[in-house]
Subunit: 227 residues, 2 copies
């Protein structure tokens, strides 16, 4: 088997996807973006996970869009929602939404994949226990696949880069169980939207993660300020 | 009317599109990428054109993908095709193709548009007198529009960013006539794939431009090494 590009944020989901892809036999090129997200600590997690799984190459791309984008994830003057109920998290699109983020990430990943001759791109988009982001849905993945099918040389030649989102329809608890099965070092992953020493335990991402561990009947090895 | 984002490379086509959009009454935010292209001189042309047309803002985004991409436009060790016939230029996809370039550019443009509340994104893709790039076709524009319709908050709320490619089906001669009508300072634009003092006159982009001027019965004000 050839190479696959895996989008790796350093979070639980993308670290698990990386382990799944490794398990399938691909050589892995991990791709991480430094796009002005608040939780730069994620980048260190990405580095550690990439190292842990001995990926062939870990590419970190600086993409300084922070001030240009309206998102509480990249803009320090906007506040990150805290303490929302599980029902509320599923409703609407929160301020942590980064416009077109996964379109940007997938397009650069596809470009690098085509340039290197890699066969596939993996993204840890999830549409079950998620924050309502519209670029984490099956419709998005299908529309993006269609776009690169028609708009790339590889696509025109009938060997389009394939975009896979293997945890798209898994619950957080299922992802955690898969992570454990594949021996993902969960203590190295980082999901919190804040970048403090301990995870905040109150942002949507912490709450979804903690609920996922509870549903899986397991203990999250991360330290939290509140849980 | 509100704001529109115009992708501006500094070439003939995008400078003309900018003039067309200005003519339509939008406030213009010009967006230029410094992505490791050989012809950095283009960037200066983009700056001059943006200044000439007094755009509201000119955003230049550094996106250093040069070494990661397989393209003679970004990789100095690959050679740019020279002296091809018009028939040859239309056939196949040349080495100057940059994988997923317009997908990357449009996705970042859409992201900024959504963040600022701009209504539209304009791209100077052209599928008539062009180099066979698959990301310059009506199919691509339609597929990309569908992607942002389903994958952005604006799209979900029924006010999707509209992507327009107003010179998509125009010949180079038609674009030049439109440029003249709209008083685009053609001497400030730069189309050559090389970044020398004079345009080379032999790369696909120079040849298409020169043929366009000939077809329009006009003289190109640029200096060429050979014409």
């Amino acid at each position: 088997m050839g190479e696959a590009i895996v989008l790796l944020s350093g979070g639980l989901d993308s670290s698990t996807v990386l382990a799944m892809v490794r398990d399938s036999g691909y050589e892995i090129v991990a791709l991480t973006f430094d796009y002005g997200q608040r939780h730069l600590r994620e980048l260190n997690s990405a580095r550690r996970i990439a190292k842990h799984f001995k990926v062939k190459e870990h590419i970190i791309i600086p993409l300084d869009l922070g001030k240009l984008l309206k998102s509480s994830l990249t803009n320090g003057t906007m506040s990150i929602p805290k303490g929302r109920s599980k029902d509320d998290i599923g409703k609407g699109i929160p301020s942590t939404y980064v416009p077109s983020r996964n379109i940007i990430f997938l397009s650069i990943a596809s470009s690098i994949a085509e340039s290197r001759g890699a066969e596939a791109v993996y993204i840890a988009a999830n549409s079950v226990d998620f924050s309502g982001y519209p670029d984490c849905t099956p419709e998005f993945i299908a529309a993006f696949q269609k776009t690169i099918d028609v708009a790339t040389k590889a696509g025109k030649e009938g060997r389009s880069i394939r975009v896979f989102a293997p945890v798209l329809e898994k619950s957080k608890a299922e992802i955690i169980k898969e992570a454990v099965r594949l021996q993902v070092p969960l203590e190295l992953t980082w999901s919190c939207y804040e970048g403090s020493v301990k995870a905040c335990g109150k942002c949507d991402s912490c709450l979804l993660r903690l609920q996922g561990f509870a549903d899986a009947g397991m203990e999250d090895p991360l330290e939290y300020e509140v849980r």
